[in-house]
Amino acid sequence: MDAGALSKSDAQKQKFSNLAMNFLTKWGTIITIILLIGFFAISMPPFIKTSNLLTILRSISIVTVIATGITISLTVNGFDLSVGSVATFADSLVISAFVWYEFGLVPAILLALGGCLLVGLANSFLIVKLRIPDLLATLSMLFIIEGVAMTYTGGGSISEGMPRLDGTETFGRLDPFFKSIGSAPWIIVIMLVVVTVVHIFLNYTKHGRYLYVVGGNLEAARLSGIPVDRYRTLAYVLAALLAALGGVILGSRIGSAQINAGAGYLMPAVAAAYIGFSVGGAGRPNAIGTLMGAVLMGVLENGLVMMSVPYYSLNIVKGVVLAIALASTYFRKR
């Protein structure tokens, strides 16, 4: 009987630690962000200045927009590795439209989005119709589009006044408004609008719900009468479009097309999307969580740079924080 009493208090302890665990998994990311901000603010007061906070938001915008696209591909239990290349491609398309073809603002952006829409459709074709596993299909697409972008630009870079590869002079100029979307406040506004719209789409419309249902159990979704192929296609197309938007903003930021400019955004975007899973207890890919994931990494990077951690060591800390954040999502007692 003694043993029974003992195990009872054990059970209570366990219950408490379960509760604590639950709380941590749900709010771990946000708590970490707050702690980090607190820590940096105390050790370096300039960190907390509005201008610096805006810098952080600006620095995460492109990652967030691209990561939101990845989030959508994750809802159908898919994965899109090609987003980095797609961003590069969009960058090349939009800059070439201005510099080579002297397009106006709207046609130039539409060209970039339209081109990348085709990439999204190609991804869906490989995955949905040819049934290639998503990771492999989008890996192939990563290479193809990287190559296409480079071939199209003839080596990778385009900027104002730079002659084309065959020596033709170019006279196109970047649109002044286009130049401004890559800097605050526009870049931040775009990011927030994207996150809000995707959040509403995923959580408050039936289409968003269908995406999650398809991701939850493909066969059950199919037998429920959901046109599963259509929704999987939609997910990859949206992922490509958001990657394209990220690429357009990137083009505006750097004011040119560069070799593999978007490639560096792939991994941070993947990280942000995965960190976002647990935020607020969603337990699944979600837009706001993704934003929080990006904020976490942005805060960290900015703070560490201010503390003059050498740039070549930054990735060590970032990787460790990523591992901790993911552990708080996946580690469960029992």
């Binding site: 029974g4 269908y210 429920s224």
Partner: protein, 496 residues
């Protein structure tokens, strides 16, 4: 097992349960869906470590907190959720010998494939089932998967064997075969068997003792010979119960649905023709493997159709995919709930609206959350789904309650013809009653129902007319009021 208690977030699954089994006997464990049967047995098998209470074997207190501890003590279990316990992309032999390969390899580093296949084959022979040991498990039917899982438990020398609803997907013949085996184990090999089932006649057929659970407590524990079936039902439900099938008389109207010469490519369905009239419940009887599931799926567009025509309300319709089927007004409650029916990682309310989301969204596609939750709560109370709230993940519901969710999600839709494929599998008697009553309401509203089942009593009890399938074809059409179980069985075993 003494004073066993366990809690999950928001649910007290067991509160102080005492349970004893003897070796060399077959012990029934019964109770309504969500009573705690599976949980109690999972504790015995070491699947949970956070329970309180103690377990004693041969007068010795033992510590069981891990599956391997349970195995060391000779406790084998056949889990209720077949799909969670099998590895779909491994062969039958590998699945059967999984425990041996994991626990008994010792220093041996290489797999002796011939031996694996030979022992697996031996076990299957002992059970009298014919399955190729090289087949991949993902290609098996539900009944075959169940057999593989039972074979796995048998491949070890068990002292105690727990069978959690092993007969749910099996037909009479296979069940009898299994019973022969269980009796042999208990009486000739001195194994203690715990047998869980919602089919009461089975309990009375093979068990000596019965323990009845209700809401995580033991209601009674006595020899089977001292109780009567109706008494057992009332003890497990906790209220009075009317045993007859609730068959409401509905006027039968025009033909609303017709299938002509339907065949599938892999000849899983050959040349099937059938019709349904408004207000009519049409049975599809047949043994496991006769093609009932394939027929249901082919009608629903979930299996590719090679030829055949389908008419709804006199209009020819094409049903290429389930999406088209639902658009036209068909609904299918599929057989394998875990694989095809529910989203285990999603909450109950999302599951219940998955097939009818358009009803809960505005013209622009925005969801109306309040309406969605209200409808979910209505289904939960209509079917008595045992869940702490409509936001509980389906994975945490008991097996029978998951089945109720799979059925419930279609009751929300506005279809013309409902196809039910074994909807009462693993559902307790009380809830079966509720499901029959809901089907009754559907036909009273002028809908048509196709009801596929291998349980002849249900076919006789609720249908108006029935088709009998044998070897993937419809061999006979019978008017239910003019037939009996014997006649249906005769045709479903190939009689002419």
């Amino acid at each position: 097992m003494t004073k066993i208690a366990i809690e999950f977030p928001g649910v007290k699954a067991l509160s102080g349960v005492d349970f004893q089994v003897k070796t060399g006997a077959i012990h029934a464990l019964i109770g309504a869906n969500g009573a705690g049967k599976s949980t109690l047995m999972k504790i015995l098998a070491g699947a949970y470590s956070h329970y309180t209470g103690s377990i004693t074997i041969d007068g010795q207190q033992v510590e069981i907190r891990t599956p391997s501890a349970a195995k060391q003590l000779g406790i084998e279990i056949v889990y209720q959720e077949v799909d969670t316990a099998l590895v779909p992309y491994l062969s039958v032999a590998e699945n059967i010998m999984l425990d041996v390969m994991v626990n008994r390899m010792g220093k041996q580093q290489f797999v002796r494939w011939n031996e694996i296949h030979r022992s697996a084959q031996q076990t299957l022979n002992r059970m009298g089932v014919k399955i190729d040991t090289r087949e991949l498990v993902q290609n098996l039917t539900l009944a075959q998967k169940q057999m593989v899982l039972i074979a796995r438990a048998l491949s070890e020398q068990a002292r105690f064997l727990v069978l959690d609803e092993p007969t749910a997907p099996l037909s009479t013949t296979e069940t009898q075969e299994l019973f022969r085996l269980i009796k042999d184990l208990a009486y000739n090999n001195n194994v203690g068997v715990v047998f869980i089932s919602h089919r009461l006649p089975e309990i009375f057929e093979i068990c000596e003792d019965v323990t009845i659970l209700r809401d995580g407590l033991v209601v009674t524990h006595q020899p089977v010979s001292e109780v009567r079936p109706l008494q057992v039902i009332e003890l497990m439900l906790g209220h009075r119960f009317d045993e007859t099938y609730p068959k409401t008389k509905v006027p039968i109207g025009e033909k609303i649905f017709e299938v002509k010469n339907l065949s599938t490519y892999d000849s899983a369905v050959g040349n099937a023709s059938m019709y349904v009239r408004a207000g009519e419940i049409v049975g599809v009887a047949g043994l496991v493997g006769a093609g009932k599931t394939e027929l249901s799926k082919a009608i629903f567009g979930a299996l590719p159709q090679k030829q055949g025509e389908i008419y709804l309300k006199g209009r020819k319709i094409t049903v290429r995919t389930p999406y088209h089927a639902v658009q036209q007004g068909l609904a299918l409650v599929p057989e394998e709930r875990r694989k095809e029916g529910v989203l285990v990682e999603e909450p109950v309310y999302i599951n219940l609206s998955a097939a009818s989301l358009s009803l809960f969204s505005s013209a622009l596609g925005f969801l109306r959350g309040a309406a969605e939750h209200a409808s979910a709560r209505k289904v939960i109370s209509d079917l008595g789904i045992k869940t702490p709230s409509d936001s509980q993940k389906v994975a945490y519901l008991s097996g029978g309650n998951q089945q109720k969710v799979a059925v419930g999600k279609w009751l929300v839709t506005e279809a013309e013809v409902y196809i039910f494929d074994e909807p009462t599998k693993g559902v307790d008697v009380g809830a079966k009653h509720e499901i029959f009553e809901l089907i009754g309401k559907l036909v009273a509203a002028g809908k048509g129902v196709i009801y596929a089942s291998c349980e002849l009593a249900e076919i006789i009890g609720i249908t108006d007319r029935t088709y009998v399938m044998y070897d993937h074809t419809i061999v006979k059409e019978l008017v239910t009021a003019e037939t009996n179980e014997a006649e249906i069985l005769f045709y479903s075993t190939g009689g002419k």
